[in-house]
Symmetry: C2
Subunit: 162 residues, 2 copies
């Protein structure tokens, strides 16, 4: 398994371009339009490659012309509806989804030390949540799981010097 927290600069260009390619293909399949604005916002999200707020994206858009909050939020809403990005509720931020092809909700590992984030898709977690909810007479439609802690590389460093 590739460490989801690691990404060299070279990888990173690849991350971005392959994410955009996947998005193009997925939107064609779904017959929805990945307009220039939507594509641009998705590109910016992937450039960060960590949770990024709507207003940070807005500032970047404003460096190349005018833009206002609704424009960003609309693009983000669209991207989210297509599963191309996830929203992190505990951070009010967004991140690109690496597996937009198969619908999922994902669980998020948020490193409190380096602010990096990894997405996992763990059937065991999803099943446990589903079972727990149903035991309480509740019919779940959607799960949000955000896990705060320390990523592997921060833990190694932190073991001595933090």
């Amino acid at each position: 398994m590739q460490d989801p927290f690691e990404c060299t600069p070279t990888d990173h260009q690849h991350c971005i371009s392959s994410a955009l390619a996947r998005a193009e293909s997925l939107c064609r399949q779904q017959q929805v339009r990945l307009t220039p604005m939507r594509r641009r916002v998705l590109e910016l999200v992937w450039q960060h490659h960590r949770p990024v707020g709507a207003y940070a994206l807005l500032e970047q858009l404003q460096q190349q012309g005018r833009a206002a909050p609704p424009t960003v939020y609309r693009a983000l809403d669209f991207l989210q509806s297509q599963g191309l990005i996830h929203r992190l509720e505990s951070l009010n931020a967004f991140i690109g989804c690496a597996q937009p092809h198969r619908p999922h909700q994902g669980q998020f590992l948020i490193c409190q030390s380096c602010q990096s984030l990894a997405e996992i898709t763990d059937d065991g977690i999803e099943r446990a949540i589903d079972a727990g909810a149903r035991t309480a007479g509740f019919t779940p439609s959607n799960q949000m799981v955000e896990i705060m802690g320390t990523c592997a590389s921060c833990r190694q460093q932190g073991a001595t010097d933090v």
Copy 2:
């Protein structure tokens, strides 16, 4: 198991007063001060008995004198630090915790139909999350689990008339 979504008016008075009594006792134990303001905010949170926003609480406080946002947020921070309330990230809202004596994080069942909320504490979920995170080389310290769906009573009604 008592249905966490149900609470008659009579029960409700009992909910509030017993929550306050538990809070008093817990704060004495912890040697922290449940000041009148903090107590009042906790009481208001319990009066709602569903997720309530900081500004809704603020408005209520303002009906009995002046109050400003920092006052409410400080009280909420304190209550949260003592485990007396939980913050629901996906709703930007707060709710009283029914088991403040044993530290826990809880999982939240949010009914999208009636906006009620139930807290469960499911070891299976917590273990699955812990295991899933560790498999990814991540050391979790804290979990946020918010589950959207339909509560039992809404589902019964909704089966026919929604």
